[in-house]
């Protein structure tokens, strides 16, 4: 009885239950027979997921470390009043805020960028020679700080080596400094050792009295008494911040508003949220770009899955037809192929997450927490495992695999079982022109999306434009292949049988060619786009460096934001032997918005009548209205603050808001968060500050850089010698380009991986397509085509396909590069660049791709031809 074995059929449940067992048998059988295809497909997804997840893990943990460092310096204040510049604000603000209702505790703070070290040549308790580095010096009123930021209050250490028994009073001792564990490591010192600390151009020797138990492990901090900080480091009457604690239950908005009305122009109210936003905006564009780049690898992997699935479906057409004849519904067949893709995705995603975590660990060790971007300094990064993100990236991997399987699955469902069973291919008439409009439509949509503005400060429409252009390029491949090959077919020359067969096949089946090509085109175009962008950026940076470094020797005083070389020191330097002219520059960070990183004010000699002599201007400089103070803003400054030539703005300089006139825009690749150039004369008039932080020296005829540098060094104030760096333009240029290459190292690595995946795609696609044509080769051998002619035909096919892929990939890549250069980069990093195409690299790439395509086709052909011709013709599938 049929009923004993066969259940009553119910159309609603026709594709669930035991048909799933049949599907499982089919899938397992297929993978057992072709394990390499499963492995390559899963690996393609795994590499993409791994890169995306690794970049995410590193970014996230680096950001968390940076936040920890910021919290370390800030203690646990609920609110802060922060100075707009390192010069601080007048301390009279403190008693006024203290009198406000709702403020229960407040702590005045002097915060200085400092450099430090144990006195050179002095043996420390640890027995090592003096070492040092950059740190943040805080001056606190301990009795007040203990109520607002207790983590910044030092712990006197009893009995430490060098301790003299003054521990109980240590916080009030003028020589005492409390340091974080990171600072202790930096000094290579112990409790009781003496260290020298330089800030605001002043160097003082202090004794380590204890550690800051509450400070994070990664942040180098030193805390001294506030009165000593003000007195010893030239900050009398100035504060850089006031930390606040509000009463429980108080109307916080009202208190904030009340504080806001009291603030002078050189101070701003900052909340922890503002700080978080600031640290996020520091590196957001860089992080998003890296993640997008990682997604490129995943996308390329998706194309590889698409290729593999398309070929697999094409090869199994008769098998699928049999299943349809035996009673598998069309929908169930589509589901089976998509399920295969999904399983491929799950395997790849699981591998990718593990691989990604290991990769993140390796990347942090090799490149640091910011992957070479230079955003977070060199603080230690502790890797965490973000489970939700892991799930999300795994989901994206599975999603890409499923989407990549959809088209092949639909093709499998559409096939006519009767025709497929007879071995027919339902091939279209070769003369039918493949439609070009879907590709052109997508390309046009990409062009429109590229014109869109940034969304949430990110070039999301730019990325959409890239995706649409890529999709358009791939969709246009059958049409383009036909067009390109038609040109060759038309040429009336005597061709060998092999080349003629190859040409006719590719010309007559452009759809099949497109399946093989999509992986090449995707990876080539993305690689070309990135390479053009990076080359353009590098060339523009190099040209800019030449323009901004016209002098012979440069000096820079590090950590001198609060005060560098005074007038006397400037005069001594100007009088050094061998110096023809010396141009001084004052750099001062200005905090113009609570939630944005500081912009850099660059005060230097600028002739308002000819600013182009001092600045690499973009466009012309406007005439300055009478009585106005001109400034020139950098490109990022213009983007970030929405200012343009002709605008007026106010800068927190000196004791008030100084109105300035924006006369022009200049190119600056050094400061991503904006810079404002101002004439030294105007800066001094506004602030009364005559100190400088940099100098550019032109040598007198016959003078050499080495002796002049030595002479300049001898004339520096002793406290600033250790933190002053000298360099010649070629060194600065080499260093800048080294930093550039380091920050793009991860980009190069991701690019190389994307190309690698693309090449693997070429190899597997060609191999599968060639092996699937055994029957055709058998037939050709039957009618007298020689083995070497078939090999030659395959080589010609591979080379032609590779050539078409390279032409399409290069063209599409250069178009996509324009989106990167003119949309993504300006919207992410706020600077523009001139297009530069690395022809040499592309020539090499084109040759490698064509050779890889031809070589793979030949290798696969040899394998396919190893079966005897008779069997090949008789083979069913």
């Amino acid at each position: 009885m049929p009923g004993a074995v066969v259940a009553q059929h119910d159309p609603a449940h026709a594709v669930t239950g035991y048909p799933g067992v049949a599907a499982r048998w089919m899938m397992l059988g297929e993978w057992r027979a072709h394990p390499a295809r499963l492995i390559v497909g899963a690996l393609a997804i795994a590499v993409g997921v791994a890169l995306g997840f690794a970049v995410h893990v590193v970014n996230r943990t680096a950001l968390e470390s940076f936040d920890r460092a910021v919290r370390s310096v800030n203690g646990a204040a609920e609110l802060q009043v922060r100075a707009a510049t390192p010069a601080g604000f007048a301390e009279e603000l403190y008693p006024r805020i203290a009198g406000l209702a709702g403020v229960t505790a407040l702590s005045p703070v002097v915060e200085l960028a400092a450099s430090a070290g144990t006195p050179a040549g002095t043996a420390t308790a640890g027995g090592r020679d003096g070492r040092g580095g950059r740190l943040t010096l805080l001056g606190l009123d301990i009795l007040r700080a203990v109520r607002v930021t207790p983590s910044l209050v030092g712990m006197p250490m009893a009995g430490g080596p060098g301790s003299d028994g003054r521990d109980a009073s240590a916080p009030f001792d003028g020589d005492a400094v409390f340091v974080s564990r990171a600072a202790l490591r930096l000094f290579a010192a112990r409790i009781g050792d003496e260290v020298s600390i330089t800030a605001a151009g002043v160097t003082r020797r202090l004794r380590i009295a204890g550690t800051l138990a509450g400070a994070g492990d990664d942040q180098a901090l030193a805390v001294i008494d506030i009165a000593d900080a003000q007195w010893r480091f030239g900050q009398v009457g100035r504060l850089q911040r006031i930390d606040l604690r509000l009463a429980p239950g108080v109307d916080r908005d009202a208190v904030r508003a009340a504080i806001g009305t009291m603030l002078p122009v050189d101070a701003a109210l900052v909340s922890p949220e503002n700080e978080a936003q600031r640290s996020d905006s520091l590196s957001r564009a860089y992080r998003v770009n890296l993640e997008m780049l990682a997604m490129v690898a995943l996308l390329t992997g998706g194309f590889l899955v698409f290729s593999a699935q398309s070929l697999s479906v094409a090869r199994r057409r008769p098998q699928f037809a049999l299943l349809r004849v035996l009673g598998l519904t069309r929908a169930a067949l589509v589901r089976q192929v998509v399920t295969e893709g999904a399983i491929l995705g799950v395997v790849g995603a699981a591998l990718g997450i593990g691989l990604g975590y290991a990769l993140a660990d390796l990347a942090v060790r090799l490149l640091g927490g910011d992957l070479g971007g230079g955003y977070f300094g060199q603080g230690a990064v502790r890797l965490a495992f973000p489970a939700l993100a892991a799930l999300a990236f795994a989901g994206i991997g599975v999603g890409v695999a499923v989407v990549s399987s959809l088209l092949p699955a639909t093709a499998a469902g559409r096939a006519q079982p009767a025709v497929a069973l007879k071995g027919g291919s339902e091939a279209a008439d070769p003369r039918t022109q493949p439609p070009g409009w879907p590709g052109l439509l997508l390309l046009a949509a990409g062009g429109v999306a590229a014109l869109g503005p940034p969304i949430w400060g990110l070039p999301l429409l730019g990325y959409l434009a890239m995706a649409l252009l890529l999709a358009g390029g791939v969709a246009a491949m059958p049409w383009l292949t036909r067009r390109l090959l038609a040109q060759i077919v038309r040429v009336r020359v005597q061709r060998t049988v092999a080349i003629d067969l190859a040409l006719q096949r590719l010309w007559g089946a452009p759809g099949q060619a497109a399946v093989a090509l999509c992986g090449i085109v995707a990876s080539t175009s993305l690689m070309v786009a990135m390479a053009v962008m990076v080359a353009s950026f590098r060339t523009s940076v190099d040209a800019w460096l030449v323009q901004v470094l016209p002098s012979d020797v440069y000096l820079h005083v590090e950590g001198a934001e609060a005060g560098g070389l005074d007038r006397a020191a400037q005069a001594r330097l100007a009088g050094a032997p061998g110096v023809a002219t010396i141009r001084f520059v004052r750099q001062l960070p200005l905090r113009l918005a609570a939630d944005k990183p500081a912009v850099m004010l660059v005060a230097q000699t600028i002739d308002a009548g000819a600013p182009g002599a001092a600045l690499p201007l973009l466009g012309r400089s406007l005439p300055v209205p009478a009585g106005a103070v001109p400034v020139w803003v950098s490109e990022p400054m213009g983007w970030l603050y929405g200012v343009k030539p002709g605008d007026s703005m106010k800068l927190p300089l000196g004791d008030g808001a100084r109105p300035v006139f924006v006369a022009g825009v200049w190119r600056d690749y050094a400061r991503q968060f904006g810079a404002i150039a101002m004439a030294t004369r105007d800066y001094a008039a506004a602030t009364g500050d005559a100190t400088v932080t940099e100098a550019a020296v032109m040598l007198a005829p016959g003078a050499a850089a080495g002796p002049v540098t030595a002479a300049l060094r001898r004339r520096l104030p002793p406290g600033l010698v250790a933190q002053t760096r000298f360099a010649e333009p070629r060194q600065l240029r080499a260093m800048a380009l080294k930093v550039f290459d380091r920050s793009f190292a991860i980009t190069y690595a991701l690019e190389a991986i994307a190309i690698g995946i693309g090449l693997i795609g070429v190899a597997t696609t060609f191999s599968a397509q060639t092996l699937a044509r055994r029957r055709e080769f058998g037939m050709l051998r039957h009618i007298g085509v020689q083995r070497r002619q078939i090999i030659a035909m395959l080589a010609a096919e591979g080379a032609l396909l590779g050539g078409v892929g390279v032409v399409a990939g290069l063209g599409l890549g250069v178009v996509m590069a324009q989106v990167l250069i003119h949309v993504v980069n300006p919207q992410s990093f706020h600077w523009t660049m001139d297009t530069s195409i690395p022809w040499g690299l592309f020539a090499g790439l084109a040759a490698a791709l064509v050779a890889a395509a031809a070589g793979t086709a030949v290798l696969a052909g040899r394998r396919a031809l190893s079966a005897d011709a008779v069997n090949a013709v008789r083979q069913d599938w």
Binding site: D10, V21, A22, G29, G327, A418, L421
Partner: protein, 237 residues
């Protein structure tokens, strides 16, 4: 006293018409009734539409005119999914090229129609083993098709066609790829198994030997389906 209703024919084709792309008329007004348990052989020259007729009967192709009913169920108006399910439950296929899936074991190949019809895998494999024994390949359920000869592959195909006890077997040149001796053995096996299952069968063939196992032999030609003795050679037409 009610008169028992006679069983519906395994296959009823009425007034069937079909053209091929390009407009050439393959046949018109074709009629055929196959009773339950009856074996009908259809012969005819290449290109007259024998395989097309089988495809139409299987619901794999659509007719221009006429109707087809399988075990009393009219195919007209059924969508692709329902026709697929009807094919799954009521029809078994034997092909010239065997079409045995290379990555499945012999038992899995035979059990496939049962699984597609929602049978549990355990009983399905037990039944597949029984069918293997019936076609003379007992104990080889774990082998793969690559280990089999052409004749053995066709035995597997016959076992697969009958495993789910369909009402109708459609066989398209079942011995076309076999040598005469093997073909004879396969035909005997096919006859034996079809008779044992009680199914009806339509066999499309060029082979007189294959046609000899049928209860009726029809020739498809310009005049439609006619008994072999009545068919005119094409030259006379």
């Amino acid at each position: 006293m009610s008169v028992p209703t006679p069983p519906a024919p395994a296959l009823a084709v009425n007034g069937l018409g079909k053209s091929v792309p390009g407009g050439r008329r393959l046949f018109d007004g074709l009629d055929l009734v196959v009773a339950p348990g009856e074996i009908v052989a259809i012969m005819g020259e290449s290109g007259v539409g024998k395989s097309t007729l089988l495809n139409l009967v299987a619901g794999l192709d659509s007719a221009d005119a006429g109707s087809i009913a399988i075990a009393g169920r009219d195919l007209a108006g059924l969508d692709d999914d329902v026709r697929t399910l009807l094919r799954r439950d009521s029809i078994g296929f034997v092909f010239q090229a065997f079409h045995v899936l290379p990555h499945l074991t012999l038992a899995q190949n035979i059990a496939l129609p049962l699984l597609l019809a929602r049978a549990a895998p355990g009983p399905a494999l037990v039944r597949a083993d029984a069918m293997l024994a019936a076609v003379g390949l007992a104990g080889r359920g774990g082998d793969y098709p690559a280990q089999l000869s052409g004749g053995e592959l066709q035995r597997i195909a016959i076992a697969r066609a009958l495993v789910h006890r369909p009402a109708l077997i459609l066989a398209d040149e079942p011995t076309g790829n076999l040598d005469p001796e093997t073909a004879a053995r396969i035909l005997a096996l096919l006859l034996e198994q079809v008779r044992a299952s009680g199914a009806a069968a339509v066999i499309v063939t060029h082979s007189d030997r294959a046609a000899a196992i049928a209860d009726r032999v029809l020739v498809l030609g310009a005049a439609g389906l006619v008994p072999r003795g009545d068919a005119l050679p094409r030259a006379a037409e």
